[in-house]
Structure formats: C-alpha cells, structure tokens
C-alpha cells in the first residue's frame, strides 16, 4: 500500500469492522472517536512506512496520545497520557494506524479478560467462553478479523494464552527486545509488549517494527530491530526439544492430539525432535505468583488519587484518601495481588518468599540454558492445558485461573522469546502450540513457525 487514498480506505474499513464486532466488548474506544481518529491518522500517515495503512489495535495498558489509557481499571478512568509508548510511536512512524484501545484484565492481572471494570470480553467464536487474557481484547479483535494485528502485553503469558484460545498467532519477544516505555507496569522484570497477528508474518512484521533500542528504557537492550527471516523450505538442521513436563497426564486429550500431530509435522519438515526435561517447571506458577505480585504491589503504589485519575470522596485526611481511592478504584483481583505482593516483601517474610522465588527463578532459567546448551534450538509445547474455558468458570477459584498459565509463565520468568500459533481445533475451539526460543533468537523461532504454519491444518479438529 502506498497510495495515500488507500490508507483512508483501510482506516474506514477497519473502523467499520471494529464497530461491527462491538458485541465482543473488545474495543474500549467509542465508535465515533475511533472513526475520527483513524481518519486523522490515515491523513497524517507516511506512505513510505513499512506498515503504511495497517490498523493495529492496542491493549489499554499501553500509553497512546490518541485515546485514553485506563488499563481496564476504574482507578485510571478517563486517564490521558501526555506521552505515548515507544512501541506506539514506532508503529506510527512506520505508517500504521492505532485502531483503538482494547479491553484487558485490570492492569494485566488475569487470564480471561473478565477482570476489567469495563466488562468482560467475549470469545469471538463462542460468546459463553472467555477469549483468554489479559490481552483478550486485542486477541478477540484480531481473531474476529476486525484488524490484522494488535499489541498486547505479557507478564505471565497474557499474549500467548489468548492467542491460543482465539486461534491466532501471538508472540512474546525476549525480555529487552521491545521497549517497555509507555507500557503501564505490572511486574517490571517480566513485562514485555507482545504482538498478535492473523498470520505469523503479520505478527512478526509488527514485532520487527516495535523492536529495538530505546534510550527511555534501561532494560531494553541496545540492539537493532529484529530482522525477519524468510519462509524456509524445510526445518532441516533444526533440533526441537519436547519438554516432558509440559505434557502432564491431565492434559486435555484434544490438546495432546493436536500437539502430537504438530510434532509429527515438524519431523516431516526435517527437524530433529527429542524429548528434554525442564525439572523445575512445577515451581514456575508459585514462583511467578510471588515475583509478579511483589513488583505489582510497588508499581501500583502510585495510584493514590493525589495527582491524576479519579479521587474518591469521603477522604478526611491523606490516609483516608489513599484508602478510599485504592479501595474503590482497584478491582478484587488487583487488590488480592497487591496484598500478596506487600506480604511477600515484608521484612521477616522477604527471605522466605521473595528471595527464594528469585532463586527459583534463576533455576528455571538455568533449566532452559541447560537444554539449549545441549544443542536444542527450540522447544515445542502446548500453549495452554485446555481450549478456551467458560466465562465465570474460574472466577471463584483464583488458583485454577492461575494454573491456566502453567505452560506460559516459564518464558516470562526466563526472559525467553515464545509464541503461540494455531495447530488445530476441538469442537470449533482453537488449540495453540507454543514455540520457545533462545534469548534474542526470535528469528529462528519465527522461521520454525513459518514452516509449521504452512503445513498444520489449524482449522481441523485434532
């Protein structure tokens, strides 16, 4: 696309599709505002950009100048950021159009997009089910065909898990590959912006644009942006590890069948497949649920009603202001995690929880290094233990909700790149397969995904 008129047409069509998908409650931007902004952006977009005219939906915890940034929270209702995230600025510089802000679990805390103060997002294929989360709004819009790509964010699988549930491609890059500047922090040592696409190529080219060094983020590596690989003829020379801990006895049978089929296809493509072990996998979820809430308890301290965001009445003094604002502004899941995080950082408990969790995190990362050091290039696993679950099914049982992320949190803890791509269906519900790569070797991971995507019958029941 390089004709200026085409961007306008693309903007209008995207706005129409997003508005038609309104029933999903995936986009938080009001239709009128969305249309006006998209038109304005299309007029300003630079035709020479590699993403010229491409509408990209953006999760509502990523700061934009065009729209409010609420993080799905009441405490940031109406909040407009005076600056935009580096990833958003890079998208715009490449000619992309920011196609509204998408619903998410509050501050990214959740796996179902049910924990949003603006209501739950529906699964695009089954309104009784969840689209996954926390980046469920972006995933649902992409899966519904409203936009070709979207930005999400991950702290513990919040891009890959909804990608898997919605039957699209979701990539979480290496920690430090994409600037976090403008991504509203949840668990800073784990957070990373990720991308959704209807194809590996759409996701990968958006990732390529938003990646690269940023002087505004000290944790962003001083590397050039990701260079996209070409689609390979075969996977000859690739060694793909299958970690046995990711195939427990209680894995949903359809998920197991879809994975077995994908592994067979990988072999047929010429890859050498071998079983490997990541022995500390079982500790990943508990480790994650110490480190992420600890960091969150500190990151979310700034929402106190003193400087921005709504301030709830009844405050006699500053303590009362904090109490009412934070008590009423945060939802129950966020409050739960702030409490847990505050507890594990308290003196007297720090060593028993936070320090030990950091030690365990180092062991989990070492597991991966051990496998990669023995010649394995990539790992293949299921993305989630089951397909999309029913709305409300896990709301009363936080631990059951947390366990839906059992296969995805490890890559966040180890800082590794990982992605989910559709590998089949069961009763119409998508099943995702996960590839985990080595740090900053997204290109190899994407190469394997290109090859698998070409041969896997993603729309067929496994």
């Amino acid at each position: 696309m390089s004709d200026p008129g085409e961007a306008l047409a693309s903007a209008k069509a995207a706005a129409d599709r997003i508005v038609r998908a309104k029933r999903l409650n995936a986009c938080l931007t009001p239709p009128k505002e969305l249309r006006q902004s998209l038109t304005k952006q299309a007029q300003a977009a630079h035709p020479s950009g590699v993403l010229y005219g491409m509408p990209v939906a953006v999760k509502d915890n990523i700061c934009t100048l065009e729209f409010t940034t609420t993080c799905g929270s009441r405490i940031l209702e109406g909040y407009r950021s005076p600056y935009e995230a580096t990833a958003v600025a890079k998208l715009k510089a490449a000619g992309a159009l920011i196609a509204g802000k998408t619903n998410c679990d509050e501050f990214g805390m959740g796996s179902s997009t049910e924990h949003s103060t603006y209501g739950r997002t529906l699964h695009p294929f089954d309104k009784t089910r969840v689209p996954g989360g926390s980046s469920g709004g972006s995933a649902a819009l992409v899966a519904a065909g409203a936009v070709p790509a979207g930005l999400g964010s991950e702290t513990g699988g919040s891009v890959r898990q909804p990608a898997s549930f919605c039957g699209i491609v979701g990539i979480k890059p290496t920690y430090g590959r994409v600037s976090r500047s403008g991504l509203v922090a949840f668990g800073s040592s784990l957070d990373q912006i990720g991308v959704f696409g209807r194809s590996v190529h759409d996701a990968a080219r958006v990732l390529s644009v938003i990646s690269g060094r940023d002087p505004r983020d000290s944790t962003c590596e001083a590397r050039d942006s990701l260079r996209l690989p070409t689609v390979p003829e075969s996977l000859q020379g690739f060694v793909i590890g299958i970690p046995k801990e990711y195939f427990p006895p209680d894995l949903a049978p359809a998920v197991r069948r879809a994975c077995d089929r994908a592994i067979r296809l990988l072999k047929e493509l010429g890859a050498a497949v071998r079983e490997v072990s990541l022995p500390h996998t079982q500790y990943a979820v508990p480790t994650y649920y110490i480190i992420a809430p600890a960091e969150a308890s500190s990151n979310l301290a700034r929402y106190d009603g003193a400087r921005y965001g709504p301030r709830f009445d009844g405050a006699r003094d500053v303590r009362a202001l904090y109490r009412t604002t934070r008590g009423e502004g945060f939802g129950p899941e966020v409050r739960r995690r702030i409490l847990v995080g505050t507890y594990v950082l308290s003196s007297g408990y720090y060593d028993a929880y936070y320090r030990r969790a950091q030690q365990m995190r180092a062991l989990i990362a070492q597991d991966f290094r051990n496998v990669f050091d023995r010649g394995v290039d990539l790992l293949f696993t299921p993305t989630t233990p089951t397909p999309a679950f029913k709305a409300g099914e896990k709301l009363a049982d936080p631990v059951a909700m947390y366990l839906s992320d059992i296969f995805v949190v490890t890559a966040n803890l180890a800082g590794l790149p990982a992605m989910s791509l559709p590998i089949g269906r069961v009763k119409g519900l998508p099943i995702g397969g996960q590839l985990i790569g080595q740090a900053f070797l997204e290109d190899e991971m994407i190469e394997a995904a290109y090859a698998l995507e070409r041969v896997v019958p993603a729309a067929q029941d496994a």
Binding site: C63, S81, S181, G187, T219, S298, T342, S347
Partner: protein, 479 residues
C-alpha cells in the same frame, strides 16, 4: 558531664544526604536547579506517570564515584538500585529509588581535626546513590497541602558514618570537613539552606569506659550547620537527664525544632515503616569498570588533607596556617598564585590569612586584590619601599579601587622616606613632644624605643623607614 555514677560518653553517628551538582535529575532530563516556580521542572518520569521508566544520569554516577574515592571508600564493581516503598503525597511513584543491600561504596574514612582529640578518623560505613522526594508545602493554602515536585528525582548521595563521634562539636567538625572535601571535588554545593546538604544524627550515651552502645535515637530536621551542635547537645542532655532520673531511652525518631531549641518525637504516622526494599526491576545493576573508576580518580583535585600536608612541607607553614589556607579551594589557589607571582611564602601566608580573608569576610567572600598585586605589595614591604602600616592602606585602596600597588602607594604619598635628613626632622619633632619619655629612656627604660619608632611612623604618616628612624633615634637619645 560528671555525676555520681561517673562521666557519660556521647556516641554520635551521622547520615548525610548530599545533592550532587548535576544539571539534570537522577533518572530523567529535567533540570535539577533550585528555586524554579513549583512543578515546572517535571516530566512523566519524575512525576511517576504510568508507564514512565527511569534512566540513570551518568554525570550523577561520576560525581558519586568521585565522592566515594575522595572518602577513601571501596567501590563495588556491581551495585543495585532498590525501591524503598512508602506512601507519601510528595513521593509520586510510592517508592524512592535508592540502594540497599548492595550500595555503590562501603568502608571509607575521613580524617578531620577534632576539637577535643586532634586529628581523628571517622569511618564511612556506606555511600549510596538515590533520588530525592518532592516537597509538601503546608503553609501555602489554608487547610490544604500543596505539593511541589521540582525536587523530586534530584540526585543525592547518602553518606553514613559509624558511631564515631564523641561530642556534638566533633560531629560538627566532621561535617565541616566533609563539606570541604565535597566542595573541593566539585561534587556538591553543600548548601544547607537550599537543602543540598542534609543531616540526620543517631545519638546515644553510655557510661565512660562502657563498650556496649546505649539505646540510640535518630534526630532529624537539622536545617543548618549552626543547629548541628545545638540539636545534638539538646538530645545528649535529654538522654543523660533521663538516665540519671532512672528512666530509659526509647529508640525513636525525633524532630529538632530550632525555634524552641528542643526535640519532639515524630508523630507515629511519620514513624518509619517497613519499607519493603527490593531490587528495582526497572534498572539493571550498576556496573563500574576499573577504567571508569580510574577516569573519575583522575578528575579528582588535590583534596584538603593532602594539600595541607603539601603546604606545610613546600612552604614551611605551620599546621594552623596550612589548615586555614587550605580550608577553601579558592583561597588555597589564591595563596599559591601569590607565591608563584614571586612573594615570600611565609609573608604571603600572613597577608592572606590576615588581610585578604578579613577583607573577603566583609565583601561577600570576594578575593578582591589580584594575586599579582598582592605579591607586588609584599615585595614593596620587603624592599623597604613601604612600611607594613602603609602597605595595609595600599591594600585597602587596591581592594576598593584597583590599580598597581606601586602607583597607588605613590598617589597616596606613603612611599617610605629613606632620606636621613627628613627622618631626622621627624625624630626631632617626636623627641620634642615627649620630654618625659626621653628622660625615662635615658634613665635606662630602653623598652620605650618601639614607642618612639611608632610615634615617628605616626607623624610621618607611615612614610618613615622604621629601621632608619630607629637608628637616628638611638643616635639622638645616646647624645
């Protein structure tokens, strides 16, 4: 203080916060300047807006490393920024970025001259980098608190000593020495009034000879150098009185009130909480290479203690003279410039210590007479052209209006008169005016000679060569 149970020993440790002299803040590009209109030096980072991230200021790191080197600390190749979590409206992120388990530097020492114990060494337990908080203003609007976040994010170093001071004056002397070192090295302005140097003190007392430390209190809100000694004395005396009355010292934080010269406990809401320190995940560990440390070492000027030693050997000065001359880097540089311009080192020291510093004190710390001019003036005295008394008049004139000392002396008509005929005239005048003293002298009271010389200087308005005057006086009085 001596009492029935024996003397008390005071034990004091100091925690000093020093603002680094940087153009911008610790983690963002905002100006760190003092005195801008409220909330004008702010950005998403120092306002703690959602999604904004800190990026360390390299200049601040350089200055902190230089401070650590100047204080003889061990610098750690890896140090870690940590979050100190607490809620306060002038702390926009809800945490302060500081260093905790792994500080920048530890184990330093600073030598200072204790008023009681002479040359003494204070141990520096740790030196770490952190950011400042904003300011809560309780007096701007009735019943409301205003917040100014200009100061928020300004770079600080915290310097913690061991419990090394044995008296309030000693603690004060250490602080003065610390200030001197940090000013010398260009690390900080150390201006207590502007808050660029702040000090908290840990105070305890114990029976003389005891080795265990008593229960300590922390004294905060000491806002000027003058109050350091007062605040510590008040708290020391309070503790002693308490213990002698059979009470116990409670470990607590106290605020010093300079208006009442008293201390009061911080309200329980202000008391320290559990800060839930943990490594800041937004900032990778700070890595210092040996090369970087060496570069900072090379940037350090000669420090006061070294300079003092050198002045004593190179210029044959007494420890006191050398101490005064090296107390301020500008004065030390000035003194050396005077010597390099050809003045005798000892005479130059006397001139700088007496005339120059006295003049500076009444003229906004300005060293008004250029070093070359002072050297010339000293030469004129030494060569007999000017009496000491006349030279002081010339000095004052040059300070006020400038000019070459030689020309100024001529214009003032104070060039020493070496013509024995003229001087003899003044001598005759003086002897005629003081017949009684002449009689006493002749009866053996030769100690009156300086009196006669002084009178000759007086009538000659400082122009007589005093040596010549004395010779002629001796001749005439012997006659």
């Amino acid at each position: 203080m001596t009492v029935a149970g024996g003397a008390w020993e005071t034990v004091i440790g100091l925690e000093t916060h020093v603002q680094l002299r940087t153009a911008s803040k610790m983690f963002c590009g905002c100006s760190a300047a003092f005195g801008a209109p409220p909330n004008t030096n702010v950005c998403p980072v120092c306002l703690g807006l959602p999604g904004a991230l800190p990026v360390p200021n390299e200049q601040a790191l350089k200055l902190a490393v230089r401070a650590a080197l100047a204080l003889g600390c061990t610098l750690h190749p890896k140090s870690v920024f940590a979050r100190k979590n607490y809620f306060y409206p002038d702390l926009p992120k809800g945490y302060q970025i500081s260093q905790f388990e792994q500080p920048l530097a530890t184990q330093g020492a600073l030598s200072y001259v204790s008023p009681e114990r002479g040359l003494t060494t204070a141990t520096i337990v740790r030196l770490h980098l952190e950011e400042d908080a904003g300011k809560s203003l309780h007096d701007r609007f009735p019943k409301e608190t205003a917040i100014d976040l200009n100061r928020c994010g300004v770079p600080l170093i915290e310097i913690v000593t061991g419990p090394d001071f044995r008296s309030p004056p000693e603690a004060r002397r250490y602080l003065q020495t610390l200030k001197q070192v940090l000013e010398y090295a260009g690390i900080s302005d150390c201006d207590m009034e502007k808050g660029s140097l702040r000090v908290d003190a840990n105070v305890s007392v114990r029976r003389a000879g005891a080795t265990a430390l008593g229960t300590k209190t922390e004294v905060k809100n000491i806002n000027s150098f003058a109050y350091v000694e007062k605040a510590l004395t008040v708290e020391r005396d309070r503790q002693i009185a308490l213990l002698e009355g059979g009470g116990v010292v409670e470990q607590q934080t106290l605020l010093y009130d300079s208006k009442t010269n008293g201390v009061r406990p911080q309200r329980s809401k202000e008391q320290s909480h559990d800060y839930r320190y943990f490594p800041d995940p937004d900032l990778p560990p700070l890595a210092l290479t040996e090369e970087f440390i060496a570069q900072q070492q090379a940037q350090l000027p000669e420090l006061p203690a070294t300079k003092r030693e050198r002045f004593m050997t190179q210029y044959a000065l007494s420890v006191n003279d050398a101490d005064v001359l090296t107390g301020d880097r500008a004065v030390a540089d000035y003194y050396e410039a005077v010597v390099h311009a050809g003045a005798d080192a000892k005479l130059a020291a006397n001139w700088v210590i007496n005339e120059v510093l006295a003049d500076a004190k009444t003229h906004d710390e300005q060293l008004r007479v250029p070093p070359g001019a002072l050297a010339q003036l000293i030469g004129l005295v030494r060569g007999g052209t000017l009496s000491q008394q006349a030279a002081k008049r010339v000095f004052a004139e040059v300070a006020e209006r400038g000019g070459e000392p030689r020309n100024v002396a001529e214009a003032l008509g104070v060039v020493q008169v070496g013509d024995s005929g003229v001087v003899a005239g003044w001598v005759t005048e003086v002897l005629g005016a003081h017949p009684q003293e002449v009689v006493r002298y002749k009866q053996g009271e030769t100690k009156l000679m300086p009196f006669f010389v002084g009178q000759v200087m007086k009538v000659s308005r400082g122009k007589a060569d005093p040596k010549l005057a004395q010779r002629i006086l001796e001749e005439k009085l012997a006659a």
